[in-house]
């Protein structure tokens, strides 16, 4: 059985978000006055509006007050948002995934009661995961134990509280998050994940990186560094479950982010097709020249393949039985999708910009931003090459020793 038909609900989601992006996000995001300056502040008004449309709680179960969208639906929505503004989309992708993972899957009923009402009530309430990305550094430690990271946040138990100290250089969503899930080291071997509201004394969100300076911001969304100084967290705010289980849950966030990446590639491609139909050189519209035609075909091929990879990865995460039943490969398909999409969309953005000639590098035009955004996807968190090594380890059947599986 192989069925790629979308449900009426999925199609409706797509159309609704596409309309929102066309009528509200693109006019704001692609305004030359916003495109030209280096700094591009988060479109906060539109973020709230998207939240009011339910996109913040997209993947949260209906019982909990969300839209209950599955992974595939989330990817369909995030592609549309990514075509409008990657930062906006990245924030929503993060919150939507974490809402499902934290509230539906990892919290105790008690914890849900404490944190869910506020999340539902306040459209400006976003979520962040602060900790070592379970896969980060894995590539560089290819076929060897993970290197100790001195940067881990430490927690020591005092009575009924954890006392948290340390800092993380980068936490996605940190500048907008009201609730952090913080992964802490609790001793030589142990890890725990603590729920820490933003207003907890001792938690500080640092100034976000800037777009200029010797070192510049190289991420999407609303991330920043987070520091903990004698930050006291009640012991009952620890999440249950093993580090491996948490890692498996967080993998759900990968396909929607790849879908944001895909959306940006689609926006670049669509702009190029539109322009190629209008621009006339060499006695005909440039789309009728072989050189432009093949560029656009290359874009279309890459985008189709990326979408296939993303949808398959998202669907497979929701259907582990398909792997167990040998219908789908047991490779880390979310990593496959992410690595392929980042590369493919970068190529798409560059090819699309080339169709625009000199207009492709002008700062008041969208193409140069699409190129920049696509490069950030290739080189953020870990490099493209190192991410591939995670796939290579899976191919070799390499299993990391349990002690550093966290």
């Amino acid at each position: 059985m192989y069925d790629l038909s979308l449900t009426p609900e999925q199609l409706e989601f797509r159309d609704t978000v596409r309309d929102f992006v066309e009528s509200e996000v693109k006019p704001a995001a692609l305004n030359p006055k916003r495109l030209e300056p280096f700094e591009k502040p988060l479109l906060a008004g539109l973020l709230d509006k998207a939240a009011q449309m339910g996109l913040r709680s997209l993947a949260l179960s209906e019982e909990a007050g969300g839209a209950g969208a599955d992974g595939l639906t989330a990817c369909i929505v995030m592609e549309e948002l990514g075509a409008g503004d990657v930062d906006l989309a990245a924030v929503l992708a993060q919150t939507a995934t974490l809402a499902h993972v934290l509230f539906d899957r990892l919290m105790t009923p008690e914890q849900r009661k404490r944190f869910l009402p506020e999340f539902i009530r306040n459209d400006g309430n976003h979520l962040a995961f602060a900790g070592r990305d379970p896969g980060a550094g894995a590539g560089w430690s290819y076929h060897r134990p993970l290197a100790e990271s001195a940067a881990d946040v430490q927690a020591v138990k005092q009575g009924k509280e954890w006392v948290v100290n340390g800092a993380l250089a980068f936490v996605p969503n940190a500048t907008v998050a009201k609730l952090f899930a913080v992964q802490v080291r609790t001793g030589a071997q142990g890890f725990a994940t603590l729920l820490v509201p933003r207003n907890t004394p001792g938690l500080t969100v640092r100034e976000p990186l800037r777009a200029i300076g010797e070192v510049i911001r190289w991420h999407h969304g609303a991330g920043a560094g987070v520091a903990f100084k004698d930050c006291r967290v009640p012991a009952d705010q620890a999440l249950g479950g093993s580090a491996a289980a948490l890692a498996a849950e967080l993998a759900r966030g990968v396909p929607p982010l790849a879908a944001v990446n895909l959306g940006l590639g689609r926006a670049a491609f669509e702009a190029a097709v539109e322009y190629a139909k209008l621009r006339r050189q060499g006695g005909r519209n440039i789309i009728e020249h072989q050189a432009i035609g093949t560029k656009l075909a290359d874009c279309a091929i890459r985008l189709e393949l990326a979408r296939n990879a993303i949808w398959k990865a998202a669907w497979t995460l929701d259907h582990p039985e398909a792997v167990a039943g040998r219908s789908v490969s047991d490779l880390p398909l979310h990593t496959v999708a992410r690595v392929y999409t980042a590369q493919a969309v970068n190529e798409v953005a560059l090819l699309a910009a080339e169709c625009f000639g000199a207009m492709g590098v002008m700062r008041d035009m969208p193409l140069q931003k699409y190129v920049h955004d696509s490069m950030v996807f290739v080189h953020s968190e870990e490099t493209d090459g190192a991410a591939k090594l995670a796939v290579a380890e899976a191919l070799a059947g390499f299993r990391r020793p349990a002690a550093d599986a966290a």
Partner: protein
């Protein structure tokens, strides 16, 4: 075969390297990160370089210039570009038109313009050919469409020509004192026979600068609109003959136009690649991932190898073309090396980014700058028309059609 440089060539290379390290590189990122199209420009840098001869490098000795040969010019462009690609281009853009003046202008025109150019440290030049609807069509006018290409109109009025129209993306547009402008003296035939090249000083009545373009890369380098509203240009400023097209206007120009411009972009790319290699080596030997220096990871070793191989191959090709130019052996190689430099500079700057990308949520700004600067090549040196155009030269063997490339 002899790859050694002579004393004069070594002298220019050393001078350029010193100037680049001391005066360009320290300001490179700072100028690049200034908002706006015009604002990154800095006259002080141009003046300092001009005093050392880098603005007038290509002016022949008989006219009082340094008269450096092509090998020296290539070496200087690469050295300056290693400090800042856009600044290097701001200097060498003048050499292109020095070549043109030297080879195609009358004695009177040389007297009137070359002397000013030599005397004034702030005198820079540009050429206006591109228009909003005429980019590729100027480089390769379609045979079956006589109206394709630039439309800026020139109408004779006694001893003057009246120019009306608009040019865009014009190099040095916002800062130039003199522009070579391609205009239609006959709008009903193709630009090869209906075009004429004019010298337009910035003080020309009816001539003004429009929008200054704000670019992703080469931010220091200026590109602007030129607006002509009944601009009055003396007939004495026509380069070559009326109605022979800009290609023929530069017909004595066996060293300027395309021929120099192609070498220019390739040599500039070489400097950027040298910079990227140097950055990658320094970073990989000082930063660790998973307990080992980046340099010790195969992933990085292979990338560094590729960066150096491509850069050294580009160097050989650039220097060979410069050497051929000095021997007046013009071939398709100039075009090919320019096209290929597009691929090399993209690849090498991206490999550098891949190596530095290990920083995670941040990027070293200069790494990104090199990638942004490199992107300019894709529409300037390596677009389809620039690649296809070379086939004409391949077809003609050693005989070349010079002149149409203006950017």
């Amino acid at each position: 075969m002899d790859f050694s440089l002579n004393e004069e060539q070594r002298h220019w290379q050393a001078e350029a390297r010193k100037f680049s390290e001391e005066e360009l590189r320290p300001h490179s990122l700072e100028r690049d990160q200034i908002e706006g199209g015009f604002e990154p420009w800095d006259w002080e840098i141009i003046e300092k370089g001009s005093k050392l001869g880098f603005r007038t490098l290509a002016v022949p000795k008989e006219w009082g210039g340094p008269g450096a040969d092509f090998v020296s010019q290539a070496l200087v462009m690469a050295e300056l570009a290693r400090g800042d690609s856009a600044m290097s281009k701001a200097f060498s853009q003048n050499w292109k038109w020095s070549h043109l003046i030297a080879s195609a202008c009358t004695h009177d025109q040389k007297e009137r313009f070359l002397k000013h150019f030599l005397a004034d440290h702030r005198y820079v030049m540009g050429r206006g050919i591109t228009e909003p609807n005429a980019g590729s069509d100027n480089r390769m006018p379609p045979e079956d469409d006589p109206k394709a290409g630039y439309r800026l109109r020139a109408v004779r009025d006694g001893d003057h020509w009246i120019l009306n129209g608009e040019k865009c993306f014009i190099a040095n547009g916002s800062v130039g004192s003199l522009f070579f402008v391609d205009a239609r003296t006959n709008p009903d035939v193709n630009i090869r026979s209906g075009g004429t090249l004019f010298m337009v000083p910035k003080t020309t009545p009816g001539f003004r600068i429009g929008k200054v373009f704000n670019k992703r890369g080469w931010r220091f380098y200026q590109n602007a609109e030129l607006i002509f509203e009944n601009a009055r240009v003396p007939h004495a400023n026509v380069v070559g003959d009326v109605g022979t097209g800009s290609v023929k206007a530069g017909k004595g120009d066996t060293t300027g136009g395309d021929i120099f411009g192609d070498l220019e972009l390739a040599a500039n790319a070489l400097g950027v690649c040298d910079d990227a290699c140097q950055m990658a080596m320094a970073y990989a030997s000082t930063h660790k991932r998973a307990g080992r220096y980046l340099m010790e990871h195969q992933l990085v070793q292979l990338r560094i190898n590729e960066m150096h191989a491509l850069t050294e191959a580009l160097r050989s090709y650039v220097m060979r073309v410069a050497w051929q130019h000095d021997r007046k052996e013009h071939s398709a190689n100039a075009g090919l090396v320019m096209n290929w430099s597009t691929d090399v500079i993209q690849r090498v700057t991206r490999l550098n980014m891949e190596i530095h990308g290990a920083e995670g949520c941040m990027m070293i700004a200069r790494v990104d700058k090199l990638v942004r600067d490199a992107m300019v090549w894709t529409h300037l040196a390596g677009d389809t028309v620039q690649r296809v155009k070379v086939l004409r030269r391949l077809g003609k063997g050693a005989r070349i059609a010079a002149g149409a490339n203006a950017d």
